[in-house]
Amino acid sequence: MRLALSIAIITACTIVQAFAATDADAILKRAFDNYRAGSSQTTVTMTVHRPDWERYLEMKAWTRGEDDALVRFLAPAQDAGNATLKLGRDSWVFNPKLNQVIKLPASMMTQSWMGSDFSYNDLSKSEDLITEYTHRVLTTEQTGGHTVWTIEAVPKPGAPVVWGKVALKIRDDYVMIEETFFDQDMKPARRMQTDKIGILGDRTYPVTMTMHPLDTPNQWTRIDTSDGRFNANVPDYLFTLSNLQNPRQ
């Protein structure tokens, strides 16, 4: 009897889960929520790998809601103090050598951010994936005791985006496993992979992620998140131009 009941409960759960799984929008939103939360404060190391050199950057990042972000570089010494502020669709950079805040022109948004394989667009348009694309679950598979959904995101007609489509793999605890960006010819152009999943703050988190441009082998950018606090109180003054130039902390 007990057994039958638990089987029934498990079955019910599975059905509910399967039901939820079909709602690709919800999965994606929850994965983004898991990654960014209502607000976040993280410490991140970025490794930029090139065939003949490798570079490490250490930074502290704050996010507020879906649109606002502040990233401040701590190391290496020559780049320490550089900062990027993103409010809505606009981005500014602060350079301590120039002691000047510069607004990023739209034409620069596709340029590499700090020499990495990420563009400024990656920083500022991350929520585009939710708002400018339509999503559907392609496959549902079981690996390592987890359900993994593969979601295909296709741009809505006329959406101002650069990708032909994006394929995402998301685990049932809403951790992003893999993100593949296809160009307009539907050829895979770059792939972000989660290399390590761990506990960060109050959640399961993709602590190590690597971006591989697929046309240039032996070139990648890895992001290791070493410290994170989520949904904590992030003061509003952080996301202002004056704080970008004269940090209060």
Binding site: D52, W53, D79, K97, L98, L104, M108, Q111, G115
Partner: protein, 406 residues
């Protein structure tokens, strides 16, 4: 003997011969002039396009053309520069750093190409130095200076004496930042250029973008495009020794190369039509004269002239006509070309359009052996070949039937 006969035969009908001569001469003159004009304009077009910034050829790191990133570099550019100008036909080699940066002035910011140049050699290769209309070009003692296009300057609200901020990525991925003093503003009339390029001294660019004394490209110049094209094999060998690629003008400006090839192909079709038409007119006329003279040829055969000789005589008539016509046409065409080579040709109201292609408002034809001889050569050849038809016709004649012909 045969030639003299043929010559006399031609002038038995002076009116017809003169008309034939005129048509050959007209087409020949037209071909000589049109080809010279076209080649002259294309050469000007190529040279003035290449002279804006590309140079007549370039040294580039392998793979740079496909992916021009800052970290594809040429080490020890000075050594390669010295070796390149030692090659006959190459007189200047200008090393460059080609970076990309945000340019800012106060609230305003725009993305632009930042080119680090060696002012002395750059002036000999690129016409941008000559297009500075406000202020001056960079000079050898400059450090923290810059020149930029007038649209870019207007967008950034910059004037000569103002300061422009640069922010970009250096070769090693670090942040490249600099503040430069604007000493000059250029206007090329080509909007893409005037809104997108800032030039600064090479050594400063090498420091700002962590180039460690390296360059991205070396632009090559010489007295003419032809002389640098002639030096390409030697440049190629030099490039292989240093592990860099040499790009000729077509590789740097593939769109221009393809556009010119297409234009040449379509105009060749037109010229070919002209040649074929004139050849048919002349052949038709001669065939008429052969038919008219069938009885006369019969008589010649009857008194013992071999058919082949008569055929040759007819063929010589044709050839004489063509030669004379071509000579007259060549004289007229070459004369007109030479005259316009000095005068130039102005299309009224086309100045702006021509400037878009980097062309001066006054265009000059160039008489070259190729442009002068290709037209007359084609006409002579096609008439000479076409002459086989009357030759065969005459050679088949027999005395009896020919004399009985109407």
């Amino acid at each position: 003997m045969l030639a003299a006969l043929a010559w006399r035969n031609l002038w038995r009908r002076p009116q017809r011969t003169v008309l034939s001569l005129l048509s050959i001469a007209l087409v020949t003159a037209l071909l000589v002039f049109m080809l010279s004009f076209q080649m002259g304009v294309y050469a000007t077009m190529m040279e003035s396009t290449l002279r804006i910034i590309d140079g007549y050829a370039q040294f580039q790191p392998e793979g740079y053309a496909a992916d021009p990133s800052l970290d594809r570099t040429i080490g020890h550019p000075a050594r390669l520069v010295r070796a390149a100008i030692a090659i006959e036909g190459v007189t200047t080699a200008a090393p460059r750093v080609n970076a990309f940066a945000i340019l800012a002035n106060g609230e305003r910011s725009y993305g632009a190409a930042v080119v680090g140049v060696d002012p002395a050699s750059e002036q000999k290769i690129s016409s941008i130095a000559a297009m500075v209309h406000d202020g001056r070009y960079l000079n050898a003692t400059d450090r923290d200076t810059a020149i930029l296009g007038d649209i870019l300057a207007r967008n950034l609200k910059l004037v000569v004496g103002g300061r422009v901020t640069l922010l970009g990525a250096a070769r090693d991925g670090s942040v490249a930042a600099d503040v430069l003093r604007v000493v000059g503003i250029y206007r090329s009339g080509i909007p893409e250029l005037d809104r997108s390029i800032l030039e600064m001294p090479l050594s400063r660019a090498q420091d700002t973008f962590a180039m460690d004394g390296r360059a991205n490209t070396i632009a090559l110049g010489g007295p003419s495009l032809g002389s640098v094209n002639g030096a390409l094999p030697a440049l190629g060998a030099l490039g292989r020794r240093y592990g860099v690629a040499v790009l000729d003008w077509g590789a740097m400006e593939p769109a221009l190369r393809d556009a010119l090839a297409l234009k040449i192909a379509t105009s060749m079709l037109l010229y070919l039509t002209l040649v074929v038409i004139v050849a048919f007119i002349i052949l038709n006329t001669l065939l008429m004269s052969v038919l008219e003279r069938t009885r006369e040829f019969g008589t010649l055969l009857a008194i013992g002239m071999r058919p082949r000789l008569i055929g040759q005589m007819v063929w010589l008539e044709l050839l004489g006509l063509a030669l004379l016509g071509c000579a007259i046409g060549f004289a007229i065409g070459a004369g007109a070309t030479l005259w316009f080579e000095h005068q130039g040709i102005v299309y009224p109201g086309m100045g702006k359009l021509l400037a878009q292609f980097g062309l001066p408002p006054r265009l000059y034809p160039t008489l070259t052996p190729l442009s002068a001889l290709i037209g007359p050569g084609a006409i002579l050849l096609s008439i000479a070949i076409g002459g086989i038809v009357p030759y065969l016709r005459v050679a088949r004649l027999t005395a009896a039937s020919a004399m009985r012909a109407a």
